[in-house]
């Protein structure tokens, strides 16, 4: 098995995150891998999905004949609504977020630090067009922030770091990280391993985390 193949796939990371979401949770899923979580709801559980552009009870992409360009999610993809859904305006939608009513938000990231800091909106590069969307509102308002991310960037740089070098999205906001190699908690003492992916050793993981890593 080559290093590239070691660990969990995108689907497996999403499925593993879904396992940690309690029945009945109100969930906001970020763009990218987090969106896959909706495909892996454990048997017997019901999650209700919030999309910050004004829909509680978001359903899967619609059948071609049901597509409505005015029924989209925060990533501007066509979606559906489930029975029991509700539409509302942006202030009500972010009242749900800011007011602590969303139970769990699952986000992708550029960097996450051992103190729970998250950086997922800007590299801070001088020619970048800064664009934040709802990310800062979500991390400040949602009670539990899950991150799904590979341990390394495409260039092989660690994304789990001692302190974020990119501009922050929020301070001390992340609870748990679902990576391709392991599930890792943010604790008062820093990163702590929860569970290793099959075939991954603690030492193999620790080499790919740029901060001290505590054993379970």
């Amino acid at each position: 098995m080559s290093a590239a193949e070691l660990g969990w796939s995108r689907d497996q990371m999403a499925a593993r995150a879904a396992e940690d979401i309690p029945d009945g949770s109100y969930v906001n899923l970020g763009i990218g891998i987090p969106e896959l979580v909706a495909q892996f709801v454990p048997a017997g559980r019901e999650f209700i999905y919030h999309t910050e552009n004004g829909l509680l009870g978001m359903g899967p992409p619609p059948a071609k004949e049901d597509e409505d360009p005015e029924l989209i999610n925060a990533g501007k993809q066509l979606v559906s609504s489930v029975p029991g859904a509700a539409f509302f305006h942006h202030a009500d939608s972010f009242a749900m977020i800011r007011g602590g009513h969303i139970d769990i938000c699952v986000l992708g990231t550029m960097q996450v630090a051992a103190n729970g800091d998250l950086a997922n909106w800007s590299t801070g590069a001088p020619d970048a067009i800064p664009a934040v969307g709802g990310a800062m509102d979500l991390v400040a308002g949602v009670r539990t922030i899950f991150v799904i991310t590979k341990c390394l960037t495409r260039n092989g740089d660690p994304k789990l770091v001692e302190r974020c070098s990119y501009p922050l999205t929020g301070q001390g906001v992340v609870s748990r990280i679902f990576t391709d190699l392991a599930v890792i908690d943010i604790t008062g003492d820093g990163f702590r391993l929860v569970e290793l992916a099959p075939g991954v050793t603690f030492e193999y993981l620790a080499e790919r985390v740029d901060a001290p890593l505590l054993r379970p």
């Binding site: 209700i48 009870g57 029991g84 009242a95 007011g99 602590g100």
Partner: protein, 236 residues
């Protein structure tokens, strides 16, 4: 499966402890959750802080809860009651505390509490006795007061129709403070005239999305406060 419906009023209010902060929907009798209030009287929790625009009427509902000695403090805009001497008597005897808040400030403080806003500024009450002790600050040459968000442990609310997810619609001016209180309370308990299946309520028409509601009890024929008062009813 998510199912927020309860079959018993007593069960729905049983978790309300002594000392709880309880928001109670309704403006006058419109939207007043009488059955839930009476269940709270039966339950007996004391030392409550109650938040409502008024202090109840006659000897039923909120007025009865106050008369029963369960309310330590009222937060409201208009404590003068019609057909009721309950609050005035306790207040003059110093047996109940009053925090008087202008009606619009009360509504906005409750919304703020539900929306995660700890404080906001309003021009309401500037230069009046209700500004005393409040931070005043100028924006664009006008003076405003800093007002705090208001949250609660529980909200008791009446609506017209609900579903098992807690989505609600209201009837006419019975809506008033209720959607805001649903947002601002940790646990919102709703009495609904009717409970329907998810999807029976048009998602464009839902006033309170279920995320703001924890418990729903069906009360198909709620008591009408004005009728009770006309009949001289006293609870319990």
């Amino acid at each position: 499966m998510i199912d927020k419906t309860h079959t018993s009023l007593a069960g729905a209010v049983s978790a309300i402890p002594d000392g709880a902060v309880v928001m109670i929907g309704g403006f006058g009798e419109a939207g007043s959750p009488i059955e839930l209030i009476h269940a709270l009287i039966d339950h007996g929790a004391k030392n409550l802080t109650a938040i409502n625009n008024n202090t109840g009427n006659g000897d039923v509902g909120l007025a009865a809860l106050i008369r029963n000695g369960q309310v330590r403090k009222m937060i409201c805009s208009y404590p003068r009651s019609s057909h009721s001497r309950v609050f005035p008597e306790l207040y003059r005897k110093g047996e109940i505390e009053l925090e008087l808040v202008p009606q619009g400030t009360l509504a906005e403080r409750i919304r703020a509490g539900g929306a995660g806003i700890p404080a906001f500024y309003t021009a309401t009450a500037v230069g009046t006795p209700l500004a005393e002790g409040k931070e005043a600050r100028e924006f664009n040459g006008r003076t405003y007061l800093c007002e705090r968000g208001l949250s609660a442990d529980f909200a008791l609310v009446k609506c017209a129709v609900a579903d098992r997810l807690g989505n609600l619609i209201f009837n006419k001016t019975a809506r008033n403070f209720s959607p805001l209180m649903c947002m601002a309370a940790t646990t919102t308990i709703v009495q609904a005239r009717r409970i329907v299946a998810p999807g029976d309520l048009d998602p464009e028409h839902i006033i309170t999305p279920g995320i703001f509601v924890q418990n729903v009890v069906e009360v198909p024929e709620p008591l009408q406060e004005s009728v009770l008062i006309a009949n001289g009813e006293v609870y319990p």
